[in-house]
């Protein structure tokens, strides 16, 4: 294996493992260290108007070609992993094909139009990073959690607090199906044809392809050495090597350096643009071992398959059954603090669902709304937006949920509580209850002994309410809470 390829493989695997971990981690430990991996993705950086990242990525591409696609993009690396397995099954399986430039440009334009229309989540269906994010969140994280729960069982048995049990939550059919379909389509294409997805559909690939045409370093075929065997083309995942013309389509080449290895004549070299005559270089000793080991380690990490069901706490006879909560029909949905408004979130979110996988309070769920497909939305059925947590704002790479501090969060009103008298135990059943008032972190709920009521009833000062949902989640009325949060059109600073 040549040193370029080795370097590329190791770097790609490291970044891939890291970003997978970022999505799997429900504890929030890695977010501080790995959060940047999401931020350096091109589409999130564009949406976040992150000039630095976009600039660096373009310069990187102008220098080295589409290195982004083979190293940084997790969906790209995932395809390489699948493709490698495919090549194990059948060698020399690829071949040159012409660039489908028209299709690529049309898809890219369509993608841009959808973004401009604010249908970000629809556009994001084919965006590589968020497509991968949905696969990780919906397919990998549950496995990871089940694995964790196995360990937690062991830890509990040994009286250790090293692992704790988490509830593996159902995140909705749409996200699951989309993730499965994405995995199937991309995976199948990768297995059979390598990087077809990247070179026909992927808008980021097309965009970077424009810049890659002019890249300074590039693989070049030395006609004097080439014997026209075509092995390079048959091993090119990107199907971009035309052996007859001795040309390589740099708009599609993801600089994986596989061709350098496949050429038995040593005719292909990665050299600066104008330097058409390759120098004689010292022979590289192939060293397959290192990358294989790395690969196996990655495979083991990624495929943590704790299959066993998490042990459910047995409900003994001594406790009353608890009816599951149901979300009320809200006029306006709720989005996390830092998102400013549903509109802002809709326009900026690529639905990578990193926030959903990171939410420790089981509040963020994929939306089923047509305009906001799979983007995060808030439900207080399984928990509430706890005052100490700002994780979604920390991990969001696109600026859809902008970074906020705890202090800022405590003064951002994302919604306001609404009292439903007929559900309220204090009002309708005369039960002494102040659980909403007691848990309101904003002090927006006061129990008032109003006339004509047997018990004190909760009253809401909407000007102080931040919409965290503590009242809704902790209300004893089930399945519908007697107090629930209605989203604010625009988040406001209290």
């Amino acid at each position: 294996m040549n040193r370029y390829r080795k370097l590329r493989t190791v770097a790609a695997l490291l970044l891939f493992v890291a970003i997978v971990l970022l999505f799997l981690d429900f504890t929030g430990v890695t977010h501080a260290y790995l959060g940047w991996l999401a931020e350096v993705q091109l589409l999130p950086a564009l949406l976040a108007l992150n000039v630095w990242v976009v600039g660096v990525l373009i310069v990187l591409t102008l220098l080295f070609g589409r290195l982004y696609c083979s190293v940084i993009c997790p969906l790209g690396v995932m395809q390489d992993i699948v493709a490698r397995l495919g090549r194990k099954a059948k060698r020399n399986r690829y071949g040159y094909s012409k660039a489908k430039t028209l299709l690529r440009v049309v898809v890219l334009v369509l993608f841009g139009v959808l973004l401009a229309l604010g249908l970000t989540s629809w556009a994001a269906l084919i965006a590589p990073y968020s497509a991968f994010g949905r696969i990780a969140t919906n397919l990998l994280q549950p496995l990871w959690m089940w694995g964790n729960n196995l360990l937690a069982m062991g830890a509990e048995w040994m009286d250790s607090y090293a692992f704790y049990r988490v509830e593996v939550l159902w995140r909705g059919a749409i996200s699951l199906v989309v993730a499965l379909v994405t995995l199937f389509v991309v995976g199948l294409l990768a297995w059979k044809h390598g990087r077809t997805w990247c070179n026909t559909i992927c808008p980021v690939g097309t965009l970077l392809g424009f810049f890659a045409r002019f890249s300074w370093l590039r693989p070049v075929i030395d006609r004097s050495k080439c014997n026209g065997c075509g092995l390079c083309a048959r091993n090119c995942k990107a199907a971009c090597i035309n052996p007859k013309e001795h040309t390589i389509d740099m708009s599609r080449c993801v600089v994986c350096f596989d061709c350098l290895d496949s050429c038995r004549q040593g005719a292909i070299r990665y050299v600066p643009r104008r330097k058409q005559q390759p120098e004689t270089a010292s022979k590289e000793q192939p060293e397959a071992g290192v990358s294989r080991r790395t690969f196996l380690a990655v495979a083991a990490t990624v495929a943590v398959t704790g299959v066993a069901e998490a042990k459910r706490k047995k409900v003994d006879g001594g406790v009353a059954a608890i009816v599951a909560k149901e979300a009320p029909a809200r006029k306006r949905e709720i989005v996390p603090a830092g998102a400013h408004s549903v509109r802002h979130l809709t326009q900026h979110c690529t639905a990578c669902q990193l926030c959903i996988s990171a939410c420790p309070n089981r509040v963020l769920k994929p939306s089923n709304g047509l305009m906001r497909l799979m983007q995060p939305t808030i439900s207080y059925v399984d928990g509430y937006c706890r005052p100490e947590c700002t994780r979604c704002s920390e991990v969001c790479p696109t600026g859809a949920i902008q970074l906020i501090t705890r202090e800022e969060k405590s003064s951002i009103s994302i919604g306001h509580a609404v009292w439903v008298k007929k559900n309220c135990l204090a009002a309708s059943e005369g039960v002494q209850c102040d659980n909403c008032a007691r848990h309101c972190p904003a002090g927006a709920i006061t129990m008032v002994q109003a006339e004509s009521y047997e018990r004190a009833i909760p009253t809401i000062d909407t000007e102080r309410c931040i919409g965290c949902g503590a009242c809704e989640y902790l209300c004893p009325a089930r399945p519908f809470s007697a107090i629930y949060v209605e989203g604010n059109d625009e988040h406001r600073q209290l």
């Binding site: 704790y164 406790v319 706890r386 100490e388 002494q432 659980n435 007691r438 902790l474 004893p476």
Partner: protein, 462 residues
């Protein structure tokens, strides 16, 4: 006030240098200083650890009373495991001898103590010493029988049992019980018993007349309002560093009680300085903080020093069953080193933390279950107590192992009790309260735990 404080301090400093020991200094700035109480520090009878017992002098009779008083409610029994076992007279004699030898001269009993045996046992033990060596306190425990005859019979019986012809300190027992003032009137006024006792005092058979108080503060205020006519020689109150400011709903803060007495120049006799023994062993963290200040002194000594520090305290009663406790308490008061301002602050802080972390007296009997809202009440208490016992409840978020204890508490909480059955879901309907045989205020305890959990989850500093 200020000048007096300064005087006290400089004098204490002076005496300390002489090695004679401490003179009481006003423990709290909350009390005014109009008392004619005399505090003294004269040579005691015995030595434990080299010092001499601190004495306080009563304003009305001039008695020099040892700051440590012997509570005679918990005399050792022949068989400590059998609640019906008779008192171990021999051991009681030894304890009394030791106490008197080391300067203790106040013995507090009551007709109802020790299944009605305490007065006799105490009398036997004290009879072996010269009468002028000790003061006897006993009470009129006419809580059930309000008749004059019954009260007088009880009064006379005490002389018999104690084998004395005068009683140094006589108390109207447990004022504030029942329904407060009406009960007081029935017990002592309507039947003329108080009038009788006042005459007994004039006759010298009662040298000091006072009352002991628990419960309804109106009764306390009422009796004090009669001070001008009755002239209480002393009053017995519950005082310790927890009850000082945090007596809770069913009792009255000791700072108020003490201030009311101090204002009138009435000496306070202190009961429950250890809160029923609970302040003798605090949890690991609180213990450690006290030990950091005074490594060689017991946890109980802090409570005794607190109770003994206020100048208006005549004596601090302790029901000592074991010689070691007696020794320790004598050591604490020989002489008393009053609590400094910093120490008082530490103890107030300890009280606040103590109130936050006392074990919950749940026996897991499940009578409270099922909670209509699905809470696992005993499960929550069990987890909380377990964490306290295992040192997984941090006193402050600054503790060295705070991160560990926080994790253990929270992870263990989710393991022990499913989230939907945790304390956050208690709505305070109070249906459980009536069922609890331990009289635990279950909703209050659950809220306390919930508040702690919330502090942990939010990572608040506390």
């Amino acid at each position: 006030m200020q000048t007096n404080d300064k005087k006290g301090l400089s004098r204490r400093e002076f005496l300390r240098r002489l090695g004679l020991g401490g003179v009481a200094v006003v423990g709290s700035s909350a009390v005014s200083c109009s008392s004619d109480l005399v505090t003294g520090n004269k040579t005691g009878n015995g030595l434990v650890g080299g010092g001499t017992m601190t004495y306080r002098t009563t304003p009305t009779t001039g008695d020099r009373v040892s700051l440590l008083g012997y509570g005679c409610m918990r005399w050792p029994q022949v068989d400590p495991t059998d609640r019906n076992s008779p008192m171990d007279q021999e051991q009681v004699n030894r304890l009394v001898d030791y106490a008197i030898e080391h300067g203790v001269n106040y013995f507090d009993t009551a007709p109802v103590y020790g299944r009605g045996l305490s007065e006799r046992v105490t009398g036997i033990a004290l009879k072996r010493h010269p009468r002028e060596k000790y003061f006897i306190a006993t009470k009129l425990s006419n809580m059930r029988d309000f008749s004059r005859e019954g009260a007088l019979a009880m009064y006379r019986k005490s002389f018999e049992e104690l084998q004395v012809d005068y009683i140094d300190y006589y108390l109207l027992h447990s004022i504030g019980g029942g329904d407060g003032i009406p009960t007081v009137k029935k017990r002592f006024f309507d039947n003329g018993v108080l009038e009788f006792l006042l005459k007994e005092r004039e006759a010298g058979r009662i040298r000091n007349l006072g009352f002991s108080y628990h419960g309804d503060v109106k009764a306390f205020d009422y009796l004090l309002s009669l001070h001008d006519q009755i002239r209480w020689d002393f009053v017995q109150i519950q005082l310790n560093y927890v009850d000082w400011k945090h007596a809770g709903r069913r009792n009255t803060n000791a700072d108020y009680l003490y201030a009311e007495l101090w204002k009138r120049g009435i000496p306070s006799v202190i009961m429950e300085p250890l809160l029923g023994g609970r302040l003798a062993s605090l949890n690991e963290h609180l213990t450690q903080r006290l030990k950091e200040r005074r490594p060689e002194e017991s946890v109980a000594s802090w409570a005794f020093r607190f109770a003994g520090s206020p100048e208006g305290v005549l004596t601090v009663l302790s029901g000592m069953t074991y010689l070691e406790h007696l020794e320790d308490n004598i050591r604490t008061y020989s002489p008393l080193e009053p609590c400094s301002e910093a120490e008082l602050t530490l103890l107030e802080d300890t009280a606040q933390r103590y109130l936050r972390y006392p074990l919950i007296g749940c026996t897991d009997c499940l009578y409270c279950m099922p909670c209509p809202y699905g809470l696992d009440i005993p499960g929550i208490f069990k987890h909380y107590n377990k964490c306290i016992n295992e040192g997984n409840v941090s006193a402050t978020s600054g503790d060295a192992d705070y991160r560990r204890t926080r994790r253990a508490f929270l992870v263990g909480y989710d393991r022990a009790v499913p989230r939907l059955r945790q304390a956050a879901h208690c709505i305070g309907c109070r249906e459980c309260v009536a069922h609890c045989p331990q009289s635990i205020d279950i909703p209050a305890q659950l809220r306390k735990i919930d508040a702690y959990v919330e502090d942990l989850r939010q990572g608040k500093e506390f």
